[in-house]
Amino acid sequence: MKKLRTYILVTLVISLFAGYGLQALMPTKRIDERAFLSEVAPDAVFSEKRGNPPHYQSGQGIVAFNTYDVTPSFRGYAGPIKLLLALTKDGKIAGIRLLEHEETKNYVHAMETPEYLRQFLGKSVNDPFVVDRDIDGISRATVSVQALARTVKESSRTVASNVLGIKVREDGARKGGGAGGLIYLTLFSTSFILYFATRRSRELLRIRDISLVLGFFIAGLYLSTPFSILHIFNLLLLRPSSSLLWYAIVISTVVSLAVAGRFYCGWLCPFGALSEFIGRLPFKKWHLPVELDDRWRRLKYWILGFVIVIVFVSRKAEFGNYETYITLFSYHGHFLAWSLVIVSLLASLRIERFWCRYLCPVAALTGIFSRKDSGYVSRYDCPMGNKPMPEISECIRCNRCYQGDRQQTEEWYD
């Protein structure tokens, strides 16, 4: 386990450096946007770029950001149109500067001029931003101008909603915010306390099922934010979110990891819950030789390494988006991502907690950082199908087999 930890960390560090290096060497001109901050907000002093969505914060309450960091998917005719925008505390555009675009130069020449961009100043994030209505059009450049207006509109609304806490029209605001964070923390605390209780007394073991059901409905269906490797990736890419819920999830999971290993997996994970309940259906389980099972459990560490390389070299967390629970609970993904979900859930009928055992990156990560606890010896009804005296990295702390605080020691078959 220690070796594995080392390998993963080394992979991470190398990928991080490679990613930084590549970014520095990239042939595409890297506009130093900081140089333009004073242009869009002359009297403000800005912090380093941080947050999710990434932005610059100033003491005067003005927020500046590169639209490409906030809405990278919007494209004009030939590529994204990148602007530096400054928003006041009450969501008005205080400054605008065009950074980069690949539109046909001669058509959009007018779009680059201060005279044209000036029309955006003073606009509120909830203005319509419709070309030829509140935004001037430009001959021959319809697509570009529409993309420009849309980029300004959506990125401003996203920042206004997530950073300034302003209510915006349509989407741009994410669910939860403050309330979601509190709900999650309540759920977490309750389950965490019950975890310690069941370590002491066997009678309450069934309570874990209730915790899993709550986890499924609250973290999964309602908040749609199960803990995911993307949280860690964004943290390491220095792009944490600004919402309380995000911090609640990350901090609580890290704390529980330090204290109780893979507690999250066994008590809160909505996909784990789903997999486990599906596994309890009366389908004959496949018998697997232990050697094979052991070998395959290593696969998730390989996958984790692979994803780390891709994400940190490209510096795009979105490339690592393959986890089944992300696809399932956001109801969003391409056909390959969905096939992962379906196959995993079906496989859970025959192999208990199939995804958790062999493929989950969170399982891999929490596994290698779990501290040894010799009280977990495993037994016949282990939800992970663990062998006797398993690695602590495979234990999800259901407490059925726990031989620590309890009075008597138990046999394999009780």
Binding site: K105, N106, H109, A110, Y116, D136, I138, S139, R140
Partner: protein, 325 residues
């Protein structure tokens, strides 16, 4: 294997991927080579008096065989020919008229000139060029009406066969060319200088649009530039704007504005200042020396012509222009 090409005909210089069509709508990259889609396929063919082009100092009272294909390098919001300039060749009805046939038809109809006009001739450069070469061989003159948005190399090459050019100098600000036309001013000014340098007979047209380019200071500046760079002999035609296409919300140009523009031009030193599409004495040509009436025009028809041997009949002053073929 990159199949990307870059067109170098007009200042837009579109970069085109395989199967991509340029902004002018009539040039396409296929398999890594650039092609014209409208060669020999005009959408407009007509015979007009040459005064309509407007050329007032070039073979007066003769007819011009006029052709155009669809397409344009710009997208002016006030375009008078937008139905063809902004049309796509695959959506328009085109004639089949190869270059040799153009010349044949021109001669057959007694036209002294072939004019490449209506839309922007730059976009059908290859067609225009091949036709012009044949025309020159058969003693037919070549003239064009262009917005001047063409790169220097192709313009110089074309100028070898072009006898006269009428250039739209639409405004004297980059802002106008950017916002209203989707282009730039500087390439147009460069093109004017190149044409002059190549010895092509030049006439300039300017459409005066209320609120957009009717600033008299700018008009004076523009005329001053023409005098300094092209000479005071270049005839300038001011046209009156009527609401059309995308500028239906603007009023027609007031007559006072037109008169002011004419005065500004003459004050700047331009000798021949005409007002198109307005019936007045500003349609006539007067001798700059003796002030006698040289050419009387009503609309596009010439009533009298007192120029003999390229000079004023009365005082023998040489009158700039091309008077005899």
């Amino acid at each position: 294997m990159s199949k990307t090409v870059q067109c170098e005909l007009c200042p837009t210089e579109c970069v085109l991927e395989d199967y991509q069509i340029g902004g002018c709508k009539v040039r396409i990259n296929k398999g890594g080579a650039l092609y014209s889609l409208v060669y020999g396929k005009p959408c407009s063919v007509a015979i007009d008096p040459i005064e309509k082009k407007p050329f007032f100092h070039f073979l007066p009272a003769t007819t011009a065989f006029s052709i155009a294909t669809v397409g344009c390098v710009l997208g002016c919001k006030f375009c008078q020919n937008w139905q063809i300039s902004q049309a796509k060749p695959e959506e328009s009805d085109n004639y089949n008229l190869p270059p040799a046939d153009v010349v044949r038809q021109a001669i057959f109809n007694g036209c002294k000139t072939i004019t490449y006009t209506y839309t922007e001739p730059t976009v059908f450069y290859e067609y225009m060029y091949d036709t012009a070469v044949i025309a020159r061989q058969h003693g037919v003159k070549n003239t064009m009406h262009t917005c001047g948005y063409i790169n220097e190399r192709p313009l110089r090459e074309l100028s070898k066969y072009m006898d006269a050019a009428d250039v739209d100098l639409k405004a004297f600000t980059e802002d106008f060319y950017g916002r209203v036309c989707g282009g730039r001013l500087k390439p147009v000014l460069d093109a004017l200088v190149v044409l002059k340098d190549e010895g092509v007979w030049l006439e300039v047209t300017n459409l005066v649009i209320p609120t957009l380019n009717d600033d008299m200071k700018k008009i004076s500046e523009m005329c001053g530039w023409i005098v300094a760079n092209l000479g005071p002999d270049v005839p300038i035609h001011f046209s009156r704007f009527f609401p059309y296409y995308k500028l239906n919300n603007l009023p027609p140009t007031p007559m006072e504005t037109m008169a002011d523009a004419r005065k500004a031009a003459m004050d700047a030193g331009l000798k021949f200042v005409y007002m198109g599409n307005i019936r007045s004495e500003a349609e006539n040509t007067y001798c700059p020396k003796c002030r006698k009436l040289l050419i009387e025009r009503i609309g596009y028809s010439v009533r009298q012509n007192n120029i003999m041997g390229s000079a004023c009949k009365f005082c023998n002053t040489r009158i700039p222009g091309v008077w005899e073929g």
